[in-house]
Symmetry: C2
Subunit: 385 residues, 2 copies
């Protein structure tokens, strides 16, 4: 049933009586998030090109001294387009075209900051562990064709764009990196943020291709707010989420590529935990579909060789610092989620729960500094009986 | 409806058709955890004294070189017994009696390690901000009457007991602490672990009574496994959970006292996120009921003075390192949850997902050491346009 089950939210809405549904939503989602009206033109575009659009509003309390800091954030999830046997150029061009349309829809919805899924220009080929032709998908972060496309779109729509690509770093030995490029709303290359934690599990053989990122926990002060990018597997590491918060992020994007068998029960947990613990908005983004490769590969699970990946389950959502969250996009379809948020909610959550005041960073700086020493002796009290 | 809604799980079971329920449970709970048979004598005791008992089994893969490391963990949730106007001695004695019965039930279920809720001997009086008579509930961790009771029970039933109390430290200025005492299965006082993060929100005026704990992230090597205690509000701090893992804990208890309006949407998220991120079992424990105090107090929320706390929602559960979890106990009734677990699952989860290998503690030791400096300049890339 897994790939036919459209979404958890749809199932709950269908079967649970209204009065109880309210309690279920309160416990599971922190309440019901109001809908945002999607403009007709955007709806039409999405119907024509077969992707869904959902819109939500997360507001903050009115303040006397500070005006609301309203920003519309968009996140997209999509399947690949061409077969993986097509030339690399054709595969990339087809996805560029799809994302250009989705970006147009986002612009029609008034999106200010748009983030695509992880490695959005390519199939998730790391499962093959083959180097060619796949490494051809790598591009220069500053001037590659994908960055150029994003710059055009950013300028055209006055939109900050976060674009996760496979990076080729020509100035450092032609090395590969898993990198998010941030383009300002004026089309200017603001900088990049590399994936800090690299998986080594199942089809996720990324450590075959690139190393742990060396850009630390950089935050981008854009025209619309302070953003950061925690790429994919970094969401399993709360300390990674934490450092983006320590450095001032108000919105952290988590562009991902992850499959049902591995991570789905954690999907609603990790980004949301991070949003609450760090008093910022966290945007969890996954791809959709099953991808088929020319040559068979194994998944390190003792099963037979095969040519298909497991099922990428979409379900992209936005989590707020106050413990609320939007429903997820579909598990199966391309989609654009638009979330209008008031960034004042970040500071209000800090003032209310106080997690940023009570986090005792000095304790952890010294505890971790001790713990990483080779001769560290953990404080373990032993029962000698 | 909030206080009549018995549990999320019961609601889902009642309304969702079988085939879809399987998917819902997979996504929300990581699948279905098998039930543990509860002995008839324990059932009888629980019926007679009006508390529920639920039992679950979380197993691990068979290994060649290592035998299963099976341990039965018990957690209890309960309401107070006597009115808060009764003498302190009577209030405490009545709860001692209730817990003695629940411990007997746990022993009948073969529990090896039992943990009670936070400050289990007393009402949650911090909302009043009154010092008398409430501070009388404080006891010596090593030799107070509650520790003595736990020692008797531990010896009688060959059970490790984790007992969260309000501590009076006579050797350090008669200071108060929020402290968990760990008693070995032979009745020996193993040590104590103090609450590291203290709330300052709503009815949780604990900072009026005691300071942040100074016992760091101590782990107790008991006869049945390595355990640690992350008390209540510490569950909002992922770095706190992390250090117990770094120091070797296999089971981390989170005895809590928390209310619906404040934290319920986070309850299923935080302990579970910690179990996965740190590859250990996390046991989330809350109290139940509404507590009424003699004098009115306000809750810092602009509402009128009142004498009742908000609703403590129970829902205690166990989360496993593989992303699975047990259902929660009821939101309204006293209860004992017994979970049989194979501690090999901790290492197996480390090997499978690799989160402990990929966590880059050295990066965070240096990042945090830098971040706590008064003149720290976060790495923020500014859009100058």
């Amino acid at each position: 049933m897994s790939s036919e089950f459209v979404s958890l939210e749809q199932c709950l809405e269908t079967h649970i009586p209204e009065q109880e549904l309210k309690e279920v939503k309160r416990i599971l989602y922190g309440g019901e998030v109001p809908l945002l009206t999607i403009p007709e033109q955007a709806e039409k575009l999405s119907q024509k090109h077969n992707f869904e659009i959902k819109g939500y509003q997360i507001s903050a309390a009115k303040e006397d001294l500070t005006s609301p800091r309203i920003v519309r954030v968009g996140i997209t999830q999509h399947s690949i387009v061409a077969e993986t046997t097509a030339p690399v150029s054709a595969q990339r061009a087809a996805i560029h075209e799809k994302i250009t349309l989705m970006t147009e829809a986002a612009a029609l919805c008034g999106v200010n900051i748009l983030c695509f899924q992880e490695l959005w220009t390519m199939p998730y080929f790391f499962c093959t562990r083959e180097k060619q032709p796949w490494c051809e998908f790598a591009e220069c972060a500053v001037s590659g064709p994908t960055t150029q496309l994003c710059q055009e779109l950013a300028r055209k729509y006055n939109m900050v764009i976060v674009s996760s690509i496979l990076e080729r770093d020509h100035t450092h030995g032609d090395t590969l990196w898993n990198t998010a490029v941030v383009i300002s709303n004026t089309g200017y290359y603001l900088g990049k943020s590399r994936k800090n934690h690299i998986p080594r599990v199942g089809d996720f053989s990324e450590s075959t291709y690139y190393m742990e990122g060396d850009t630390g926990h950089v935050v981008f002060q854009t025209h619309f707010g302070r953003i950061a990018v925690n790429i994919c597997y970094g969401r399993h590491h709360p300390q990674n989420w934490m450092m983006y918060g320590v450095n001032g992020a108000e919105i952290v994007f988590n562009p991902s590529a992850t499959v049902g068998g591995l991570s789905e029960p954690l999907w609603g947990v990790e980004a949301r935990n991070a949003a609450v613990a760090n008093s910022y908005f966290a945007c969890a983004i996954n791809r959709v579909g099953v991808e088929t490769f020319p040559n068979e590969f194994t998944s390190g699970d003792g099963k037979s060789a095969h040519k298909n990946t497991d099922f990428f389950y979409g379900s992209s959502f936005v989590a707020a610092p106050d413990g609320s969250r939007t429903p997820g996009l579909s598990r199966t379809r391309d989609g654009l989620l638009v979330c209008e948020m008031d960034l004042n909610l970040c500071r209000q959550a800090k003032d209310s729960w106080g997690f940023r005041m009570t986090q005792r960073l000095d304790l952890y700086a010294s505890s971790l500094s001790a713990a990483i020493q080779p001769d560290y002796e953990p404080p373990i009290i032993k029962d000698l009986c």
